[in-house]
Amino acid sequence: MSDNGVLMPRRREAHPDAYYPDYKTSVTRAPSLPLLSMEATPSEETGPRFGHGLIGALDNDLIRNYATGEGLAIGERIRVHGRVLDETGRPVPETLVEIWQANAGGRYRHVKDSYFAPLDPNFGGCGRTLTDAEGRYEFMTIRPGAYPWPNRANDWRPMHIHFSIFGHAFGQRLISQMYFEGDPLIERCPIAATIRDRSQLDRLVAPLDMQNSRGMDYLAYRFDIVLRGRRQTMFENKPEGM
């Protein structure tokens, strides 16, 4: 196996602070000592691969993948689509993208969610897909509701969809959240605010994409994702035994 290049180090300044007192749970869960940094090794530069056999026909359609019979999930119908690229700008093909979200009323189908907004019998709240050869993915879903959460006395999460992306190397593993353009709760959210650099937070806000919306059916939102890249150079030594 040839060397695909060293994984580029994570730009930690673009990521959230681990310790952010306004997000109270982070206070006891943030490491207080520095991370140990070194060049990536095969454990970070290899990773699990998942095939098309894993993916069911409705896995990327949250409007229908938990519904019974002819039922459909309640809410504003949306298509969420975009590309997964790496830091060199190359598409990341055939990689698993998983999402989860609250229903249109802002309630998760989870035993720990006690918000009194009702569950939707036709909405589970999870989906998955593989990117195509150009790194593209898409989901059909409903726009999740905003919801209150126990943090400060009156904190609300903006509307958001959780994203989990694998890439092709374990060191590319990423979980993040997609927000919606124009939501006034983004500014007020202590979890969004864990990202210090506002221009980085803006990268999590999906714009409305009317050209990819369909009349009398759904609105589209565009959300592109960038994973760590690999440094290509003629000067690296080849790994031994690979």
């Binding site: 959230p16 943030a30 490491p31 000592l33 090794t41 454990s43």
Partner: protein
């Protein structure tokens, strides 16, 4: 002014939140039937070569409380030190596992084969280890760490060698409790804080 670089920046992380199980291990979260089974229920299948080991532990916060809502992923080589997808890798080792802290006790268990030593660039050899990635509510960027084994020779491992405070090396080493069984706890903060990695 200089030329503009065309290198992109990785999408910033956000916490996985308290409901990560819905998206990653929905059957565990009670959403049976969306997928036939959860992804990564085991890193091995029948016939995997090598010593089967069971690693048990908890993820503790800075007050010593075991997290009930953490999800962990592991990635490893086979018993010969080959990663899945590499030439001659053991076909019964997928190498990938997802497991969660128990909702009542906070304890997790990983059953797998003990990996062999792995080779990196420039002739580096890493002692047998399992890479971990930990996400949960309150963890804003997934935490990377490793499980090494106390009954292996870890003396020349290039990563462990970089830990300045030698007692902290012990935070990455699973302790043998009986034949094939190990204890490995993760401490997010404070006394005995686990060494977390940036690589």
């Amino acid at each position: 002014m200089a030329q503009t670089l065309d290198v992109l920046t990785e999408t910033p992380s956000q916490t996985a939140g308290p409901y990560v199980h819905i998206g990653c291990i929905p059957s565990f979260a009670g959403l049976e039937g969306v997928y036939p089974e959860d992804l990564g229920t085991s890193p091995i299948s029948d016939g995997a070569k090598g010593e089967i080991v069971t690693i048990t532990g908890s993820v503790y916060d800075g007050t010593g409380w075991a997290l009930r809502d953490a999800m962990i992923e592991s990635w490893q080589a086979d018993a010969a030190g080959r990663f899945p997808g590499q030439e001659d890798a053991d076909p019964n080792v997928s190498g990938f596992c997802r497991f969660a802290a128990d909702k009542e006790s906070g304890e997790f268990t990983l059953r797998t084969v003990k990996p062999g030593p792995t080779k990196g660039r420039n002739g580096l050899v890493f002692a047998p280890h399992i890479a971990l990635w930990i996400v949960a509510r309150g963890i804003n960027t997934g935490l990377q760490t490793r499980i090494y084994f106390e009954d292996e020779d870890n003396s020349a491992d290039p990563l462990l060698a970089r830990i300045e405070q030698r007692p902290r090396v012990e935070t990455l080493i699973a302790k043998k409790t009986s034949a094939g069984a190990y204890r490995y706890d993760i401490r997010l903060q404070g006394t005995g804080e686990t060494v977390f990695l940036d690589l």
